[in-house]
């Protein structure tokens, strides 16, 4: 009970905090400011926006760093199998908001792709190489396997089979880590260093790197989330009654997976509206 009360006190300090809204506002200011600076228009306004953003973020860091030492000392001491301290089970709304945000991001990116595609008479534009889809197929297989494996792991967790759950979760993380390794370590260097397809090749090259880059960044975030989930699983912080965070991570992962299917269809198979 003491642990629960202590954890409740520490998590409660962020209730009704204005900082999340301010940080989001500061990020928006910084994005607009950097846009002005990089485009070379309204330099003073750009500098002011970036400075205002830095001030807000600095203010947050200044006010929050005093909590860090106690937060660090609590790390690793979170009581086993408790809902307080561990992630709450019911985080449906949180993950729904995250997924909606991601949908807007990728919706915008795909809208850009189709808008460009409609502007050119031929798609892909002349001079675009036919991409070898061997790596893309391997990546698809990796994502399907990892999605099935994590569903299996969640099922095992709900039925209290903890060893199987941990094995499934770690397997998912390993499979997930293979995806960005193949993308950023094999395919991109191969295409760019051999001058097969670069962002400067044509519209297809630009959209290819933009869309697969955004997606790859999301996969990386997913892998980091899985590493964190693994650590907590190994610390025994999940149970059949406490699996909200695992479900949230897997939902995010499935979302990243489905976006990949669209990319695979559009970038490698290259359909064209006729």
């Amino acid at each position: 009970m003491e642990n629960a009360a202590e954890a409740s006190h520490h998590t409660g300090q962020y209730e009704n905090s204005i900082w999340p809204a301010l940080i989001a506002f500061a990020t928006g200011l910084a994005a607009v400011g950097f846009f002005f600076l990089m485009k070379g228009v309204m330099l003073v306004a750009g500098l002011m926006l970036v400075s205002a953003s830095a001030l807000i973020l600095g203010g947050f860091l200044y006010s929050d760093t005093r909590n860090w030492s106690s937060a660090l000392s609590r790390l690793g001491r979170i009581p086993k199998d408790t809902l307080v301290g561990a992630f709450p089970v019911d985080i449906n709304l949180t993950i729904q908001i995250i997924i909606m945000t991601e949908l807007l991001l990728f919706g915008g990116a795909f809208a850009m792709y189709f808008a460009i595609r409609e502007q050119v008479p031929f798609w892909p534009p002349p001079g675009t190489p036919i991409l070898d889809d061997l790596i893309a197929r391997a990546q698809t297989l990796i994502l399907i396997s990892s999605s099935i494996l994590v569903e299996w792991a969640v099922y095992q967790l709900k039925h209290g089979r903890m060893r199987a759950f941990k094995a499934g979760l770690i397997g998912t993380t390993i499979l997930g880590a293979l995806f960005p390794i193949l993308q950023f370590g094999v395919e991109w260097p191969h295409l760019i260093l051999n001058n097969i397809l670069t962002p400067a090749t044509n519209f297809f090259g630009a959209t290819f790197y933009l869309l697969t880059g955004i997606h790859g960044a999301h996969v990386l975030v997913g892998v980091i989330a899985y590493c964190y989930t693994d650590i907590r699983a190994l610390m025994g912080q999940y149970s059949p009654k406490n699996h909200g965070f695992v479900e949230a991570t897997s939902t995010y992962w499935h979302f990243v997976h489905i976006i990949w299917l669209f990319l695979f269809a559009l970038m490698w198979q290259g359909g064209r509206v006729v």
């Binding site: 994590v150 939902t251 499935h254 489905i258 669209f262 269809a265 198979q269 359909g271």
Partner: protein
């Protein structure tokens, strides 16, 4: 559909899209047998998430090929067939599968001559045969899984 069903939805979409786009085509006369159609009977086990997943998978696979407006209606037709299979699970899944074959074959028989210029008779014959092969292969798999599930349920049930 609950959030926890999202995984099933995505996995079925992926199975359809990836198998259609990423695997070699199994040609049967004018029509290629879509491996993604094989899991059709499994919607009787996995429910509406599988229905929506297979429909989305078909849509994704569609945009990977030469896209024509009429071809993009295929997922909607397939969706109707899948819903029939889903609701037929209460009395006879096989009957649902037959209805699915009939609905999708009729649609393909109408669409293929428009899209690819295939003679109508060849289109009708090959679509019906291709769909039947894929769905029946899946149905056999479904029967095996259902038997396995009921076997395990009997094993784990408390003995009086």
């Amino acid at each position: 559909m609950k959030l926890e069903d999202f995984g099933t939805f995505v996995i079925f979409a992926a199975i359809y899209a990836a198998s259609t786009l990423g695997l070699p085509k199994l040609l049967f006369l004018a029509y290629h047998i879509e491996i993604g159609v094989i899991p059709t009977a499994f919607v009787a086990i996995f429910g509406l998430p599988a229905v929506f997943g297979l429909t989305l998978g078909q849509f994704i696979a569609g945009i990977g090929f030469q896209v024509t407006p009429i071809a993009m209606l295929s997922p909607a037709i397939s969706f109707i067939g899948l819903v029939v299979v889903y609701y037929s699970r209460k009395f006879n899944t096989f009957a649902g599968c037959i209805v699915y074959i009939v609905i999708t074959s009729l649609w393909l028989s109408y669409m293929l001559p428009i899209v690819s210029g295939t003679p109508p008779a060849v289109a009708a014959y090959s679509a019906f045969a291709g769909q039947s092969i894929a769905v029946i292969v899946g149905y056999i798999g479904y029967i095996l899984v259902v038997r396995r599930i009921s076997q395990r349920t009997t094993e784990t049930a408390p003995k009086h």
